[in-house]
Symmetry: C2
Subunit: 173 residues, 2 copies
C-alpha cells in the first residue's frame, strides 16, 4: 500500500485526537482520555514542545471507510538516562485497523528510531500492557527487550490528590 510518513502539523491534531481515542478503546480504557485536540495543539506546537509526532497518510483514493487519509501516528518525546544519556520515548504507536498489515506501524516505529539516532539517542523505550500480546510480540520480533521481565522494573505513578499532597509538602524556598 502507498503511504507517506511525515511530521505532524498543528492541523493534524484533530486526526491525532481521534486516533488517541481509537487506541484507548483498543487498550480498554476509553474513559481515561481527557485530552482535546486544542491541548495537543498547545502542548505539541509551542516554543519548547512537550512531544513530537509523526503521522502516516494515504492518498485520497485509499482513504478509510469513514473518509480519513491520516490513518496512523507515532507520538514521542525525549527522555534521559543518567547511565546512558539521551533517549527517545514512544508514547503511542497506532495504525487504524483497516490499514494494518501493510508495514505502516513498522515504518512509523523505525522513523522514530531514525529521528532518535539523529539526536544522539542511545535508546528507544515504550510501555505495553501485559495482556497485549500482539504488541509485545511485535516489539520482541524487532529486537526489543522487556525490562520488566529481565530486570524487574516497575512503573510507579503519583496523580490526583496524592500528587497535590506531595507538592504541598515541598520545602519553601
Amino acid at each position: 500500500m502507498n503511504f507517506k510518513i511525515r511530521c505532524a502539523a498543528k492541523e493534524d491534531c484533530k486526526d491525532i485526537s481521534r486516533m488517541i481515542m481509537d487506541l484507548a478503546i483498543y487498550e480498554k480504557m476509553p474513559d481515561q482520555v481527557k485530552i482535546s485536540h486544542e491541548e495537543l495543539e498547545r502542548d505539541g506546537f509551542c516554543q519548547n514542545p512537550f512531544f513530537e509526532c509523526l503521522v502516516a497518510e494515504v492518498p485520497e483514493e485509499h482513504k478509510s471507510n469513514e473518509g480519513f487519509t491520516v490513518i496512523g501516528y507515532a507520538l514521542y518525546f525525549y527522555t534521559y538516562s543518567t547511565w546512558k544519556g539521551r533517549a527517545v520515548y514512544l508514547e503511542d504507536l497506532y495504525v487504524m485497523s483497516e490499514f494494518r498489515g501493510n508495514g505502516i506501524g513498522t515504518a512509523l516505529l523505525s522513523k522514530v528510531a531514525e529521528i532518535g539516532k539523529k539526536k544522539q539517542c542511545v535508546r528507544l523505550q515504550l510501555s505495553v500492557l501485559n495482556w497485549n500480546t500482539p504488541s509485545r510480540d511485535f516489539y520482541a520480533a524487532k529486537g526489543a527487550q522487556d525490562l520488566t521481565v529481565t530486570e524487574g522494573w516497575h512503573a510507579i505513578r503519583f496523580d490526583g490528590q496524592n500528587l497535590d499532597n506531595l507538592a504541598n509538602e515541598a520545602p519553601k524556598d
Copy 2:
C-alpha cells in the same frame, strides 16, 4: 538536619556524576554507567535541556565524611500522556547513605512534584526495581500506585544493534 534544596547549576555536574555512580552501585549495576560529568553539562545546560536537576546541600559544618556538601539529587524531565497531558518523570532520586532519615529524599521528591504542578503536570512518574522494597515502600507510603502491578504495564527497550537495525529500516523521505 539543616539542608537546602536548589536547582542544580552546571558546576554541580561533578557532584551529580559522583552520586549517579553511588546510586548505580546501590542498584547493583555500576558497570552500566557510561555518562561523564561533561555529558551532563552538555545535555542538561543547553538551549533545550534533556533534563532538569535539583540538588540537596548541607552547610560546610555538616559536610560528608569525604568532604562533600552536595549530598543528594533529583534528576527529572517532562513527558506527555496522550490521555492526560503533561507529566513529570523522576529519573533518579538519591541521598547519600550517611544523610538518610532526615527528610531530604522527601524534600527532593516533593519539590519535583511542586515544580511539575507549576508546569501543569498531572502526573509524576518513576521506575523502581522489583527487589528494591525500601524504595517501593517509600513511594507507596506517599500515595504512589504501582502501575505494573495494578494495570500490567511493562517497560520495553530497543538499544545497541537492535536500535540501529530499526533506524536503518526507516522509509526514506
